[in-house]
């Protein structure tokens, strides 16, 4: 199976479980590394970039944890496959624009991903479902330690790992978690939370949407400073802050359930109503409504429905995933028609069809949470 086939939906990762995944959808640790005495990708001439790619790619592919991985150069990937990789948060939008001289090595579990010649010569990341920052750090630390035996890293004892941008200098680590925070948004408590997290030197940004808008109530929290603090200290600091955000989100949900029941159920019920019946729906509206449905699942309004149903839809209704699904579908009359790029309007129709189809088996929300279902508190799930 090649990467092109592998990227054909459905994605398995949306079904993975992890600690606190009611709120923390995924954890990620990224390291940046560069080769000694070699210009950074943004300044390097093509022969330099090709040499770097040819040095790093086989070294990465030879790692024991990367056995049977996909090792590609960016010029061999279609724009659509690159977009799919972006939507799955495996590569950056910047990397998707690259072509010859840049590369990608990805394992089949989608837990380790190496970008070669992005902004730095090598950017490697470990991904885990739920809150697993420490596990992600251990995994990427191990891969990095194995690689340093084969690659001559640019390192200074004073400044640490040298990176193209001084903002990454030192540990060159970016530790981040994706959080689903509908409770704090509905309770209008999200802004003070963001501000206080910012004060601790951590960045909070909406993962989708532009500016301050956070589509689907999904936020990313990450460290900003990389020089003067060790990797494990950064991981620990983020863990502490995340534990507090989780607690605030749980409290917000519990308070909404208790004091603003009608408002909360109204939002969830309407979200279900539109998603289950719409014939045309934009990506933006879908994300916002799916977020509310996910909240409904969490508070027990949809007994028997697994959260992964919503998470999968969240991914599969993104533009490139829709396009890919459409292109791979067995064509009825005109095979050519399927390979053409869908217009936004066509995507809205397809998206609504898919959501309606998948929600067929989901009953409308209960008027109040099922007595046995998990309620607002973060109980361990079976």
């Amino acid at each position: 199976m090649d990467l092109h086939q592998f990227l054909t939906p459905p994605a398995q990762t949306a079904r993975l479980k992890g600690p606190y995944d009611r709120i923390v959808t995924s954890s990620r640790v990224r390291l940046a590394r560069n080769l000694k005495e070699t210009p950074f990708p943004g300044w390097a001439k093509k022969p330099d970039r090709v040499r770097v790619l040819e040095t790093i790619r086989p070294a990465v592919a030879a790692l024991p944890e990367m056995r049977e991985s996909f090792s590609e150069t960016m010029d061999t990937l279609s724009m659509l496959d690159k977009q799919i990789l972006v939507e799955r948060h495996l590569i950056s939008r910047e990397h998707a624009q690259r072509s010859a001289g840049s590369g990608l090595v990805l394992n089949r579990e989608e837990t380790l991903c190496f970008m070669i010649n992005e902004e730095d010569h090598l950017r490697m990341q470990a991904l885990r479902p739920g809150l697993q920052l420490r596990q992600a750090w251990t995994a990427i630390d191990q891969a990095d330690s194995a690689l340093e035996k084969r690659l001559d890293y640019a390192f200074s004892s004073e400044l640490g790992y040298l990176t193209a941008c001084p903002t990454n200098l030192g540990t060159a680590i970016r530790v981040s978690a994706m959080l689903h925070l509908p409770g704090l948004v509905l309770a209008e408590q999200i802004n003070p939370i963001i501000q206080s997290v910012n004060k601790l030197g951590l960045a909070v940004r909406g993962l989708y949407g532009e500016g301050t808008e956070a589509l689907g109530n999904v936020f990313q929290v990450s460290n900003q400073m990389t020089l003067g603090e060790s990797e494990s200290a950064i991981v620990e600091r983020l863990e502490k802050v995340l534990a507090q955000i989780i607690e605030h989100e749980e409290n917000a949900r519990a308070t909404l359930l208790e004091k603003k029941t009608k408002m909360m159920f109204n939002h969830i019920g309407r979200a279900y109503g539109i998603l289950a019946n719409a014939h045309s729906i934009s990506s933006k509206e879908t994300m916002n409504l799916l977020s509310l449905m996910r909240l409904g699942v969490d508070v027990g309004l949809f007994p028997g429905v697994d959260r992964s149903l919503v998470d999968e839809l969240f991914l599969l209704t993104q533009p490139a995933h829709l396009q890919k699904l459409h292109a791979e579908e067995p064509s009825a009359e005109d095979p050519k028609q399927h390979s053409e790029k869908l217009s936004a309007e066509q995507r809205d129709l397809l998206r609504a069809d898919m959501v309606r189809e998948r929600l067929k088996s989901v009953n409308r929300p209960l008027p109040k949470p099922a007595p046995a279902g998990p309620i607002g508190l973060d109980k361990p799930e079976k």
């Binding site: 902004e119 004892s157 004073e158 640490g160 040298l162 903002t167 030192g170 200290a233």
Partner: protein, 169 residues
């Protein structure tokens, strides 16, 4: 208000970032916002942008007006001003005067704490040991403890020999 990058077009994108007690603002035109990746929430960092703007000033001052150029890769201060990124790992040495102040405002410290490649860990330990010994030697000489000083000098010789090549980057 004019865009603070191209200084030509009207700024329509206004960004504010609060980190710690610092608040920073940037105003950009549509086009510059796009080229700087402001529309990409996953890849964009305001720090990067501010860096490109603030750094140029510091670098110009440090260079005393003359264009500093990295001897390894030929990258210049105006390149840095444009890109907000450096040319090669050696640029950190070439532009060290200008970068010092910048790193202070950007990071928690100015000295690396954390992981060190294993091959360097050994020699770094020795280098640290050497520094401590040299400090002790100065003190011993000042205090006229000549016996101790002699011992220290021997140890410094040995450590230097074990370190092989002198100072690390």
């Amino acid at each position: 208000m004019l865009c603070c990058i191209c200084k030509e077009k009207e700024a329509t994108v206004h960004l504010t970032q609060i980190a710690g007690d610092k608040m920073q603002k940037v105003d950009l035109c549509e086009e510059c916002a796009k080229t700087k990746g402001v529309n990409d929430p996953t890849g964009f960092s305001l720090a990067d942008l501010l860096l490109g703007l603030g750094a140029s000033k510091e670098i110009e001052q440090a260079g005393g007006g003359a264009e500093v150029k990295c001897p390894r890769c030929g990258f210049t201060q105006s390149d840095f001003k444009k890109a907000g990124r450096l040319g090669c790992p050696d640029c950190y040495k070439s532009f060290s005067d200008a970068l010092d102040g910048l790193l202070k405002t950007m990071h928690k410290g100015t000295r690396h704490v954390g992981k060190v490649p294993e091959s360097l860990r050994h020699s770094r330990d020795l280098a640290d040991r050497l520094k401590t010994l040299q400090k002790k030697l100065v003190k011993a000489v000042e205090a006229e403890h000549f016996e101790e000083a002699a011992l220290l000098r021997d140890e410094i010789k040995q450590t230097t020999a074990r370190l092989g090549s002198p100072a690390l980057p």
